[in-house]
Symmetry: C2
Subunit: 319 residues, 2 copies
DNA sequence: ATAAAATATGAAATGCATTTCATAGCAATA
DNA sequence: TATTGCTATGAAATGCATTTCATATTTTAT
């Protein structure tokens, strides 16, 4: 394999000059530059990026942590990040964690190993202090609201959004409201739970723990929800569904089960995915690609910043 | 930042010994080993993987090329690859190409730059000779049928599968069969087109170019299909839909439009996604996670191999 | 008892490119 | 004219860890 030394010899210059040509250093005579370029061409030379990274201390690689990539939520986010990465000539290292802490730590460790310049957490399971340990080793960016201003993040205020949705349903007359969520833990989920609890307290409504439907991520997860709703002798009259996929599934299920929407069951989805538009589901538009873009930009910037993204309510026909 | 030299000094041994301890070389006295480990612990030392990679020539990084990650097809494939990568202590570098050749070449270049050990193409746009150029620089694995045995691949025989589906529809009495596909180009699409053309030739059926519906990937892409079907004065009586997402969308559309399935329009989907089961769509099960797993294994193995994956027909209610 | 094999350790070479330092000619400025 | 700034180039140091040699001490085998 040909290296910079070979090029130098071939072009009759020093390795310094070769390096300078390769890195567009301005003060090089045209002859030497041409000679180097010719040698590169002839030998089909390519820098060894491990050597470059060792020397310069950075890799143009950004880590992305997400539990799985086959859900539209993460798919879209990843898409947004990837598109922006391309623009800035960075590559992405993917860490699929299945929500396992050990995998998240592995990703963090790669900051320390200098294999990545920064790390984006699309979602996390590990505790905050673990993340903090790795602050010295590179930029860490999250997709959740951060109390202290210690790291950059781009986030949707889920408390606010959830409360807005709940109030809307309340105004429409609903008193038995439930919600479907991907997982109970995680900052974003806890924020929504807090909103839900504050809401029922505010309006003096009874708390039904069975109005909270867990593990709702996909289209088919709706089956379990509708089965539970059918079995209940006091079912909710409205559901907040944190994924449009599941909301669409619920609509489909209800058609089969002759549960009419919104009369028997009102629905508010989240994400404003194309399927929600197609099925006329009232939802919140959340610009995931935009979030992906922002989060990437934060990852490559030196300054720490917090960006709040607003979810916009889209009224359609399921309430 | 503390390096191996610092550890050596601290532990009172040579850097060689430190390296050996770190790499589990067998012949080290217990005292020295303990001293090194203690120094590592104390200083929170972590190897610089760029230096390791520079020296050893490999990175434990595998590149994955795919057009986009927000479609279940690629999401599932990626998931399968990622799960297997974890088992083998490898990480994935993601190349999202949007089917652009330039991006694919960038991915290939990273083999040459020694940033990745191998490259998996989930889908490609670039021509074969371009790929061939990079054979010397690392293992390349594809998800398509390979003529010559020059690279490893895991693939579904789409010609065979498509022909099987067409024959099935023919036996059921269908003579006006169309199909929905993601893109017209690409080996897999061309294989299906070949099957389609051979099929109509075999049965002496007329070729309607408008029976081929392009750009069908997502649920909502079904709208265009159904609109075209409605407008046609000689619409197909059956459709092969290469993505269950789109097939599910078609089912949903048809419900609204009161086109009854399978009477007015028969449907065979592909992928056997959960949504197909839920909506009772006749489809082909294609084990994408399994393909992902295989393809990863091929990427880290030295030998070249070709693995054919069989798509299994699942009869449900849309034919 | 002696040769061969196993255990244990370190100095120095190596992988490859960037960057600092040093040097020198030439043009612009004071 | 003297001084500063720009252009141009290369030797050597540097980033960090692995691996090859070289060497020495113990064991084991013959």
């Amino acid at each position: 394999m040909v290296n910079i030394k070979d090029i130098a010899k071939l072009a009759g210059v020093s390795v310094t000059t070769v390096s300078r040509v390769l890195n567009n250093y301005p003060y090089i005579s045209d002859e030497k530059k041409a000679a180097v370029l010719k040698a590169v061409q002839m030998t089909d030379y390519q820098q060894n990026m491990n050597a470059v990274s060792l020397r310069t201390g950075h890799t143009s690689l950004i880590g992305v942590v997400l539990p799985f990539s086959h859900h539209p939520y993460f798919g879209l986010l990843l898409n947004g990040i990837a598109n922006e990465a391309i623009k800035h000539n960075h590559k992405l290292l993917l860490f699929q964690t299945n929500y396992e802490v050990e995998k998240e730590i592995e990703a963090l460790r790669m900051l320390k190993e200098k294999r990545i310049d920064a790390l984006i957490f699309c979602s996390r399971t590990c505790d905050w202090p673990i993340i903090q340990e790795y602050f010295p080793y590179g930029k860490i960016v999250l997709c959740e609201k951060i109390r202290d201003g210690s790291v950059s993040s781009t986030f949707v205020d889920h408390y606010k959004t959830f409360m807005g949705a709940l109030d809307y349903l309340y105004d429409k007359g609903h008193r038995k409201i439930g919600y479907c969520i991907g997982r109970r833990s995680g900052t974003n989920s806890l924020d929504r739970e807090a909103a839900y609890k504050d809401f029922i307290t505010k309006h003096n409504l009874p708390f039904h723990s069975d109005y909270i439907y867990d593990h709702c991520l996909t289209f088919e997860d709706s089956i379990k929800v509708i089965n539970k709703v059918k079995e209940s002798n006091n079912p909710p009259s409205a559901l907040l569904v944190t994924s449009d996929q599941t909301a669409a599934g619920i609509v489909t299920c209800c058609q089969k089960e002759t549960i009419s929407i919104p009369e028997d069951l009102a629905l508010i989805g989240f994400d404003n995915q194309p399927i929600a538009k197609m099925m006329n589901i009232t939802t919140f538009d959340i610009p995931y690609k935009e979030i992906g873009k922002k989060v990437f930009l934060q990852a490559i910037k030196d300054e720490i910043s917090q960006e709040e993204i607003t979810a916009t309510f889209i009224e359609r026909n399921t309430v």
